[in-house]
């Protein structure tokens, strides 16, 4: 009971200036996170510089819950590289290995076929209806680094959104009731 009284007191005693300065610090935190994210996008040249592995199709190399760092350069795509690509119509990027490359003589355009290491067949089932090959504009980057287990936070927050709301609610409460 004393704790509830204390909380109500601390909310009543908030001054405008205090609230404003807290709002500004919160804004600073959010914008610096955004700056870091956009900066990473510029450095790596990829639209999505960090992705989470969602399926076990690349085991034993990448397990579900690993995060991957991507980098995109103008280097040609060759067999054996691990690439992350987006299929038209699917919003989730897929991380698989390139197994076939056909590069045109005249235009330099390239047809790519991918396959997950742990899958039996190639990815034609995952491509859009009627699509047989991937092209350069589908590919978002090559995997250059990874961190295991860190991606589980994102997976849990996506699959059980209640935890996301709980976390944000708790953080909000913490910010409002903290004295500094």
């Amino acid at each position: 009971m004393g704790w509830i009284g204390e909380t109500i007191d601390s909310i009543k005693s908030l001054q405008i200036r205090h609230v404003l300065s807290q709002a500004v610090s919160l804004g600073m935190i959010v914008t610096s996170a955004l700056i870091i994210w956009k900066g990473l996008m510029c450095i790596t040249g990829s639209e999505s510089p960090v992705v989470v592995v969602l399926s076990g199709s690349m085991e034993p190399g990448f397990k579900r819950g690993d995060i991957l760092f991507l980098h995109m350069s103008k280097d040609p795509i060759r067999v054996g590289e691990i690439v992350v690509f987006n299929v038209d119509g699917r919003e989730i990027p897929i991380v698989h290995r390139v197994i076939k490359v056909h590069e045109r003589q005249d235009t330099g355009e390239v047809d790519v076929l991918t396959k997950g290491d742990n899958n039996f067949g190639d990815d034609r089932l995952l491509y859009a209806h009627g699509q047989l090959w991937l092209h350069r504009h589908h590919i978002m980057g090559r995997a250059v680094g990874f961190l295991p287990y860190v991606g589980w936070v994102t997976i849990i927050m996506t699959e059980k959104p209640i935890i996301k709301y709980l976390l944000i609610g708790a953080l909000g409460l913490l910010v409002v009731t903290s004295k500094d």
């Binding site: 067999v79 076939k100 056909h102």
Partner: protein, 172 residues
């Protein structure tokens, strides 16, 4: 004096920083490692050659491969992904690379291989024009069997560096 949250904050920041330093050091040790790999591949026989309905040529081959990849394994190696690919040039395509067979090696004990393999993935050429002669003439002159070894390294929370690739080309 300091609240629990403050202490937790400092602890987590320090732990994160130290782990990042350890990861970089672990990855750095890989720059000193130079693997020496021996490998050999040859085509034993052509099992089947046919023209698909789409007009593309399809070949099924049996290859004889032997390799010794023991030297690519370090304390920090997670897996080695080996594959045999056919690389060739045709009239329409400046470069074609088709992976025929691949294999994952997870420890040093399994790193020495000698096998007769048939291609796992269908070897299909795009735009196979006129007759079978096109494919046959492409093969002996412009075919290369490439062993590319991709080494994946991992420390407990480490960084993967697939840049280190050892390429061996055997002209067949």
């Amino acid at each position: 004096m300091h609240s629990v949250l403050y202490r937790l904050n400092t602890l987590i920041t320090l732990a994160g920083f130290l782990l990042a330093v350890m990861c970089s050091l672990a990855s750095f040790t890989d720059t000193f490692h130079v693997p020496s790999v021996t490998a050999h591949a040859e085509v034993l026989k052509v099992n089947r050659f046919r023209k698909q309905l789409t007009g593309n040529d399809e070949v099924s081959l049996t290859l004889n491969v032997s390799m010794n990849l023991r030297s690519t394994f370090t304390w920090n190696t997670k897996q080695v992904f080996v594959f045999v690919a056919a690389e060739y040039e045709t009239a329409k395509n400046s470069l074609n690379q088709v992976s025929l067979w691949d294999h994952i090696i997870q420890d040093k004990g399994h790193a020495k291989l000698e096998a007769q393999i048939t291609n796992k993935y269908p070897f299909i050429d795009q735009f196979g024009k006129s007759a079978n002669t096109n494919m046959y003439s492409a093969k002996p002159y412009m075919w290369e069997a490439i062993f590319v070894v991709r080494r994946s390294n991992l420390f407990s929370t480490g960084i993967l560096c697939p840049r280190q690739v050892k390429q061996l080309k055997t002209r067949w």
